[in-house]
Amino acid sequence: MKLTPEQVDHIATLSRLSLTDEERTRFAEQLSSILEYVDLLSKVDTADVEPMQHSIALMNVFGADEPAPVDEATRLALLSLFPEREGDLLKVKAVFS
């Protein structure tokens, strides 16, 4: 399956990535060759086979429903990672315009 540059643009939009023109052409080629390779799966008979998300049979692992406060040093370390802040608040661009 050969991806067109338009499809690559669409995938880049879904992925929230910006691409240069040169990358658009190159990625179309490289992604196509990978998709062509993985297409061999379409020939495998998987009728009656259940999908397997996880290799270890674990289900519904519950934690205690209790608040676990973070210590002050960790809180400050996390705040200091904000790219932009006002006091203890994270500054972002408007979500709704």
Partner: protein
Amino acid sequence: MDLSRATLTEVVAGFGKQQFSSREVVDACLAVAEKNEKGTHAYVQLFADEARRAADEADTRRRFSLSKSPLDGVPVAVKDNMLLIGSRTTAGSNIIKNYESPYDATVVKRLREAGAIFLGKTNLDEFAMGSSTETSCHGPTRNPWDLRKIPGGSSGGSAVAVAEGSATIALGSDTGGSIRQPAAMCGVVGLKPTYGRVSRYGLMAMASSLDQIGPVARCVEDTALLLHAIEGRDPMDSTSVELLEGWSLPTAWPESLKGLRVGMPKEYFVSGMDPDVESSVRAAVKVLEGLGAEIKEVSLPNAGHALAVYYVLMPSEVSANLARFDGIRYGVRKMGDSLEGTYRKSRGEGFGREVRRRIMLGTYALSSGYYDAYYLKALKVRRLIAQDFSNAFQDVDCIVTPTSPMVAWDVGEKTDDPLSMYLADIYTVSVNVAGLPAISVPCGLSNGLPVGLQLIGKHFDEKTILTAAKAYETAAGHRATMRPPSA
């Protein structure tokens, strides 16, 4: 004794007999790390002063018989995708180049509590995506056996540190072979534990259903010691499991492998393998046989599908996991003219090419209209692959394969051809797909470059592969020759 070359087992014994101090071992490792900074470039950060101070403290504790554990004072290197307080954790990516670790990964916390000394953070492919340690924002790492060659990847820095003597032991992470393949290419031992054996808390997630942290070391016994220090259930990782008694690691190391049934998958020993790799691996199988193991042919009929399954599932999980890097809460923020513009610019400029390729591949495989054909299909074939292993393990106790079909290639050789790079993972990815444990142990040299032997075990049966690998290592006697010429 050259302390930069000592095994963990020797270091622990030497501390016990007061033959040398932690400070001496740390100094020996740091000297190698500093000498090779521009050569192999195993480390992206070194904590020389802190490590020396911590070593002195460990030595003081030992003098007063207050050591925290046998690992107290042992120098360890940590792959730069695991959080370690007091260090940046960059995952080799520009998007989080200045990210200061806000807490310790569970494996780091456990080693810290055991008194281990952190020498530094080791280089990797960006977000652990690669087989060559060339895509890091810090520049490539090179193989100490030949600086023109790649060290394997993605835990290339950790494997090089152990191979060259700039750390006694190291932590790596393995999603499709990222511990075993660089260990093989650098002539050291690397183990990927069973999925769920080691906590992933504080490891930057690549593909959550495949990732495991594991040890890199100079000998088999060392990997067992390090694994023992980091394994076990952690409430912070809901996929880590309580270890049963029967799953414990070996404490004795029998020389004979009498009674052990070793499977050779017929699908793996056909074509595509470098002839030197094949002959080294076949010679290793003869050694196992000489030790009393029974060699049996087994069949993994879906082996040929494993790489395709991996290259659908892994990018799909990558695309979800890396959605968090959006320039909002941490990392590099590049302002666009809208919120979406900020996302696209931050991610487009912050992520390197291979990371973006995989995000896009995964996004495509999960997108409306393609989900069933790619993602769901791969999940079904995943079950077939896991069933193949279960069937084979009815007849054998472990499975032997090469770790990599080839030895280390030239730096730059495959960077523009992702598919040919992916093909290097052909023997390692199915282990992650099925969640099994596997170890790579050196089994010879081809044109002066190390070859690795892979032993795959049943779920949580690390004991069998460690026992077999150790008996092989002793009988084959490669350790004496596994020293890079430049080290």
